[in-house]
């Protein structure tokens, strides 16, 4: 790696940390400042003023907002995620197991959707305007236009209700063997893969078409290169950066989809934990889950940016 790339990557990293700080403040603002008096909320309307004041001091609510933000932020960074209001357990303990489940789900989805999306995206760009391309477009526009829960309910109707191949719910604790595992993951993964690959196909197709419209592709054509050679040797190496970038950005759609999917299929992941925390107004738990989402989103964007920088031939071959 050369110095120019290193400097650009470091700059992206700096921007990500700054964004993270702003995002952290937004989460803090929404959960601690917007609701008003957290102590009052926790104790309910019937609480005595003394009890409220006592809790307020105990929770450092008397301090200025900025100090509280710093406290909270340093707590997060040192791994102290606070205690859950609902069941008084360490938030870190509540999250750890669930996070692994969610990551598994994301990993399996990625494993399925990336090859499918790459193939469909590249081929539909190659045969732009053909019947095949139009069918792929209709599919992607439809999937993008309908809510995730609809994809999920359709999947349930088809696979669980009519075909009876798969269970409608998944409970990860009762896994016996590979077959069982497949059956448990199948439904959430199918749903998520649909949502994510529709985005990926669209973005990949756009990236390849962009490079197919360049003068050097026309030049290759005028040198007598075949369509296969033009796409594989000339377009793809230059589209690689944009494609990987598109992959990373599309994966961020996982984050929205996963909330719906884990809820519908009762999948024990972080998103389900967060939705449950919302119904009990368990603010420390919500904060931590929200930060996990934001960090993963920013990481994906960082990866996308870095790949784009590394893939730029002008920078790479300095």
């Amino acid at each position: 790696m050369n110095a120019v790339i290193a400097r650009l990557v470091l700059k992206r990293l700096g921007i990500m940390l700054l964004s993270l700080l702003i995002v952290a403040f937004a989460v803090f603002f929404a959960t601690e400042l917007l609701p008003g008096d957290v102590a009052q909320i926790l104790l309910g309307q019937a609480a005595t003023p003394e009890a409220v004041a006592g809790l307020r001091t105990a929770m450092h609510l008397d301090e200025p907002a900025f100090l509280r933000f710093l406290h909270w932020l340093f707590g997060l960074m040192s791994g102290d995620l606070g205690r859950s209001y609902a069941n008084d357990r360490e938030v870190a303990d509540l999250i750890s197991g669930r996070l692994a489940n969610s990551l598994e789900l994301a990993f399996v989805t990625t494993l399925f959707s990336v090859p499918i999306a790459l193939t469909l995206g590249i081929t539909s760009a190659m045969f732009r305007g053909s019947f095949y391309d139009r069918m792929v477009s209709v599919f992607t526009v439809t999937v993008i236009s309908i809510p995730e829960f609809m994809v999920a309910t359709l999947a349930v109707i088809i696979f669980a209700v009519y075909l009876r191949w798969l269970p409608a719910l998944s409970v990860a604790s009762e896994v016996h063997g590979i077959g069982e595992l497949l059956r448990i993951y199948a439904m959430p993964v199918i749903t998520l893969a649909f949502v994510v690959s529709a985005q990926m196909i669209r973005m990949t197709r756009a990236a390849v078409i962009d490079t197919l419209n360049t003068a050097y592709v026309e030049m290759a054509l005028l040198k007598g290169a075949s369509r296969r050679r033009i796409v594989l040797r000339h377009a793809l190496p230059n589209a690689l950066g944009p494609i990987v970038n598109a992959m990373a950005l599309s994966l961020s759609y996982l984050l929205g989809g996963v909330i719906i999917v884990e809820t519908i299929f009762n999948y024990p992941g972080v998103a389900k934990l967060m939705v449950d925390a919302v119904s009990t107004r368990d603010l420390p738990l919500i904060q931590s889950c929200a930060m996990i989402f934001c960090v993963s989103y920013l990481l994906l964007i960082l990866i996308a940016d870095v790949v784009a920088i590394m893939a730029n031939p002008r920078l790479r071959n300095q």
Binding site: I15, L18, S19, L20, L21, I22, V23, A26, V27, A30, T31, L34, P35, V141, T142, I144, S145, I146, P147, E148, F149, M150, T153, V156, I157, V161, A168, S252, L255, G256, I259, I260, T263, M274, V275, A277, V278, S279, R281, L283, I286, Q287, C289, A290, F293, C294, Y297, L298, I301
Partner: protein, 280 residues
């Protein structure tokens, strides 16, 4: 695009058949949203059927829901919430985003740098997740919903409009206006805005789709429009119990959402290239 383009003199550009269909469906839902109370056959909250999850019949065109209420009436009223909230949010988001975006592009300097950095950071918050956080913290009401959604989508609109405005701002006719001594307001209103309004409207449509999807998602999770009112997402949630036997009560609200969002996409994809072209 296979359909033959025909010239529509009123708009001064050609819209093909697919685009016209899309536009008609959108118009249909907007009219429904406006006139819902006058065209609903039954009061929305009233239990009118002894059966729940009733089938399609001549009395109940779209069946009945889990309590035996008329689904047709509930979907008509649901259009009010889904279309109304989404339109209000997208209007606020785009108005704020586009205005700030144009100012940032024309003024430039540290104002642009700071605002862009800040809004880009906000843009990196997953929308549905942040919706959850706000609803958890302050509860769900129409105002909260509209303002939260608008806040979440304004940064994207800003980014889009700014990118377009930066391109226009680099054009010589803007430089000429600046050399003439024109002020910022004139430059934005007369030179920049007319040249980005096409793509901005297309973006408005796409953002509207995202917002309909977000709102439906929130309502589906029980965090959007609260009972006894219900938008389309909430209607799906209420009647999800009928899913296993494919009740009309769960199918039709889903179709309503899909028809609206797909129509917007159809319309935008079939707009003339001049308007659709995005210069990001």
């Amino acid at each position: 695009m296979t359909s033959t383009a025909r010239r529509s003199p009123r708009f001064g550009f050609a819209v093909n058949a697919v685009g016209v269909i899309g536009a008609s469906i959108i118009l249909f839902w907007i009219l429904v949203a406006v006139f819902a109370p006058w065209i609903s056959p039954y009061p929305v909250g009233k239990i009118v059927d002894f059966d729940y999850y009733g089938p399609i019949s001549s009395d109940f065109w779209l069946g009945t829901d889990y309590l035996g209420r008329d689904m047709f009436s509930r979907i008509l009223m649901g259009a009010r919430y889904t279309v109304g909230i989404s339109l209000a949010s997208v209007t606020i988001a785009c108005f704020v985003g586009v205005t700030l975006g144009m100012i940032a592009a024309v003024v430039g300097g540290w104002f642009d740098a700071v605002l862009s950095r800040f809004l880009d950071a906000l843009n990196s918050i997953p929308a549905l997740m942040f919706g959850l956080v706000v609803v958890a913290a302050v509860g769900s009401s129409l105002t909260v919903l509209i303002l939260t959604i608008a806040t979440l989508y304004a940064p994207g609109s800003y980014r889009f409009a700014r990118a377009l405005a930066v391109n226009v701002n680099a054009m010589d006719f803007v430089t000429v206006a600046r050399a003439r001594g024109e002020g910022i307001i004139y430059t934005i209103r007369e030179e920049i805005l007319p040249n980005i309004v096409g793509p901005v409207l297309a973006d408005f449509g796409l953002r509207f789709v995202f917002i309909v999807l977000l709102l439906s998602g929130l309502s589906f999770l029980g965090l959007g429009v609260q009972p006894p009112d219900a938008d389309w997402g909430a209607l799906v949630r209420e009647n999800i119990g009928g899913l296993s036997f494919g009740a009309p009560a769960v199918v039709f609200p889903s179709i309503a959402i899909a028809s609206l969002t797909i129509s917007v996409n159809m319309l935008i994809d079939n707009l003339p290239r001049r308007i659709r072209d995005r210069s990001e």
